[in-house]
Symmetry: C2
Subunit: 135 residues, 2 copies
């Protein structure tokens, strides 16, 4: 998990929030990957050590990926809050858009895809914030 080390080395004030987000959302993503594979194993009725190794690798990969996305998002939202000086749903929208653009830019060179991912990231974060106020 080199990305976690980078965050720790930075020693910035967002440290605790970002690391927390990484582990919490990372473990949710890893559990989801495990549950999905367990479902396929149950359906097929066979299990092999190869399957298990594959699941474990997928859990690490998905956990690290979504954990990183969540860490970036929490850091961005916190940063936006500091810069704007207020807490409202617009922070989620801006933070989500920045996260979507950053994560997309890290994995792709397609400028159109990056812009659409930024729009989608902002929409998902805004929707999660609204649901949050409701429940």
């Amino acid at each position: 998990m080199p990305k976690l080390d980078v965050v720790i080395d930075m020693g910035n004030p967002f440290l605790n929030l970002t690391v927390d987000a990484f582990f919490k959302i990372g473990s949710v993503a890893a559990t989801r990957a495990a549950a999905e594979d367990a479902y396929h194993v149950l359906r097929k009725g066979t299990i092999s050590s190869h399957n298990f190794e594959h699941t474990l690798k997928k859990m690490c990969k998905e956990g690290a990926y979504w954990g990183t996305v969540a860490g970036v998002y929490v850091g961005m939202e916190y940063g936006v809050e500091r810069i704007r000086g207020t807490r409202d749903w617009k922070n989620a929208m801006i933070g989500g858009a920045l996260t979507g653009a950053l994560v997309s830019a890290a994995s792709s060179n397609n400028r159109d895809k990056i812009a659409i991912d930024a729009i989608t990231g902002g929409a998902v974060a805004t929707a999660a914030e609204f649901l949050n106020y409701l429940t």
Copy 2:
């Protein structure tokens, strides 16, 4: 918006929450669809009334779809809270899984897809709930 009318006709106690979720998340989804199309128009540099009509239709469709998903989720989470008698992240997980299964079952007959969508719905709702506690 026939789905909204159905909810109102039911006159159930989840009414306000569900309608609220429908409109809030529906408008986020419609805005996202509009922003995505606006980006494509800006990139291409041309705009026609056909484009505008298409965007409006897409906004209504995506808004109604995601609004319905959000309404079902809020209703499910509220129902799970009443049945379990407590409020914690497990409500989000169960509500998300039920919503994923229901929405997937409404649009597909593939049992594998429904199960995977239930797992994914639960994971997304759990992740949103965790982010919520962090920020």
